[in-house]
Symmetry: C2
DNA sequence: CGCGTCCTTGAACCGCGTCAAGCCAGGTGG
DNA sequence: CCACCTGGCTTGACGCGGTTCAAGGACGCG
């Protein structure tokens, strides 16, 4: 994936602009937006920086992270094609999270002023954006519940399911994203050692397998059953 | 606070409808909305129920809770005057949280169809609603970080600060809401005993005091300092 | 082939959740 | 008006789950 020229929002499969704005406004956004390619691991914006506008993920995968006391990171949220990063910002508004691409990603940037104009002129777009945030808030609530109330093993299983939900599975049932054990740990708010132990346990039960760093989901239903019944993996017989 | 008649959105201090909709649409909402008084402890909507529309808190205090494995509850979010409960729902959309009033509260209900019409006709309203959800998502991220990465003592201090932020302090520096220890525990994802211990510790340091169930914040700066520096309360000398 | 990075596995410590007992305030009824 | 009861809160003791520490192993890369 290499882009040398800007792609119009009209041709963008998932983008809210292309789907819900009038043709004339799509042109205006095309003219005013800034489409960039971010390499794997690159920061899209930084915690503490001023919010100049909104980022839309054209194509790629992104993690939204928050730094904890210098060293540790918490992954707050994931984003992929069609998702939105950051938010409209009042002046002096700063980001409290950073966004980092998990793979080479194309991201559109729309500044605050343009965004406001687009929103006022295209209420259906604004409505959909509103729904998007409401839906993310809902997911966020789910994560709060998960982090707050579940034992470590279930947090990890839940995280695996979450990864499948966001990124999906490829033809070989691999989780379709290059996610490290460390990143799974940062999502589940657990240490890497526990993730490793849990993955080993799930492999022993043939529920998942691994191929290098790739995780293969053999039995999605079983994983869902585990969280649904709060089952302890070790309770299962082989 | 007793209401026998519906109050117009135009006279509602915090409501997004009154502030950002045109006069004619305020009338339409007044005609179509449903304003109800919920007594303390009453459910406004239930986890698992169909989403028929949006609730706006005219006046009062509400907790959004999620049930965990039958018995335990996690408080996901708090709401007060001007805040929004639930979200616009597609058909067959269900709530994954319940909303319960913490004190007698007046809540306006706007159904999905009316909400959609209002949004399309009043883009500035929709824009503000979008910003509201984005801002709640931001707060939610903060809570995820807090629950995931902080030791119990800091979770509790953070929760106290959060309560102050949402509900404020009255003239005697009481947290202006009737919150039980159990509810603080459900916010911080900790058990009640730990909350009790921590409150005792903070009292010994004169940072807070209590009057029955009321919590008095003597030294807000100190509380903020504790979370900012990840300080252990027991490390402080009296 | 040697080095670095990421992952795995084992062992030990300790934070915190659970259990249990007692306390305090408010409400109720004799 | 006091005795009792109930529900929420406090405090202590104990044990377990999970984090931390430490020692390899696997893999890729120069």
């Amino acid at each position: 994936m290499v882009i040398n020229q800007q792609k119009s929002c009209a041709n963008c499969k998932h983008c809210l602009v292309g789907k819900f704005c009038s043709p004339e406004w799509i042109s205006k956004v095309d003219a005013g937006k800034n489409q960039l390619l971010y390499r794997k691991g690159q920061y899209i914006f930084y915690e503490g920086a001023l919010v100049f506008g909104l980022h839309l993920v054209t194509e790629g995968k992104v993690k939204i992270i928050s730094n904890v006391s210098g060293s540790k990171e918490q992954i707050v949220r994931l984003a992929t094609d069609g998702h939105v990063l950051g938010r409209w910002g009042d002046k002096e508004d700063i980001y409290e999270n950073s966004a980092v691409s998990l793979e080479d990603s194309v991201i559109c940037f729309i500044n605050n002023d343009l965004l406001h104009d687009v929103c006022l002129a295209n209420p259906e777009f604004t409505f959909q954006l509103m729904k998007y945030y409401a839906s993310e808030l809902r997911k966020s609530g789910k994560q709060i519940k998960c982090l707050g109330q579940m034992p470590v093993k279930l947090k990890i299983v839940e995280t695996l399911l979450h990864l499948v939900e966001i990124f999906g599975l490829d033809s070989k049932r691999n989780i379709a994203a290059a996610i490290s054990r460390q990143e799974i740990a940062e999502m589940a708010a657990v240490n890497m050692e526990q993730v490793s132990r849990e993955i080993t346990a799930l492999k022993k039960r043939r529920i998942i397998s691994t191929n290098g760093k790739q995780i293969i989901i053999n039995d999605l239903e079983k994983l869902q059953e585990i969280v649904a019944t709060q089952m302890d993996i070790l309770d299962l017989d082989s």
